[in-house]
Symmetry: C2
Subunit: 118 residues, 2 copies
DNA sequence: ATAACATATGAACAGTTGCTCATATGTTTG
DNA sequence: CAAACATATGAGCAACTGTTCATATGTTAT
């Protein structure tokens, strides 16, 4: 924040600063995975699913009815959430119950809420 | 988590649980805003921009060179970040410097990193 | 085994997104 | 003022996303 100078004349950046920033960047794969994770949170349907799972584990048709959406749509989205390891599931007879995988979900959503509430 | 019963027979959900979940849901607008916020984090380019701004404020062409992308692409994405209030900017002559708007950005990205690192 | 129920999945299609390219706006200098 | 530089922006397009629809899979009860 303190270090700064004439960076952009003739389209040449300030060498030292650029180098130090480059060193502190996570590797490409981590950045990709991170974006993929947030992409999963970046959909209203999936956010709503995660919210209803805050309360209790629920089966697919419960969630579908709660969100007033088709079983198929919910099932597709649950798959996305599961692949991102945000939810897990267990089968009980014909029924499959989904539940939050861990507390990161609550924390991340909570931080997001903090931001939008200024 | 304790309360549960036969929800889905005949496609009828468990009334009490469904009602209590419904009560605790944030309003539609908040959920939409939240998804919109995470959508902004859900892109590699924007994540990388935020990361380079962790170190120091930078001008558009600095960022473009750091990420090896066009000035136009970066400028478009900075607009998205600005609209989401994740970055702010200040002009100094011809140059516009961008910087992180507040510490929520670091916190949210940090929580995301925690999750992907298991 | 057959029917009924709960869930999963593939294809298709409309809507969205992120880039490029061209060009516009804003600022400083000669 | 014109030229040069830094940034912003609109149009266009290829790639991606989320839904629906039809159907498949898995489980239970008869």
């Amino acid at each position: 924040m303190e270090v700064r100078a004439e960076y952009c004349e003739e389209h040449h950046v300030h060498k030292d600063l650029v180098d130090s920033v480059k060193l502190d960047m996570p590797d490409e794969e981590s950045l990709y995975d991170l974006a993929e994770l947030f992409k999963v949170f970046g959909d209203t349907t999936r956010i709503r699913i995660l919210y209803v799972l805050f309360e209790s584990e629920l089966c697919v048709c419960d969630i579908a009815e709660l969100l007033n959406m088709s079983q198929s749509a919910i099932s597709h989205q649950l798959r996305v959430l599961k692949q991102a390891k945000l939810v897990r599931s267990r089968r009980e007879g014909k029924t499959v119950f989904y539940f939050l995988a861990d507390d990161h979900v609550r924390t991340i959503i909570g931080q997001g809420m903090d931001h939008i509430n200024e």
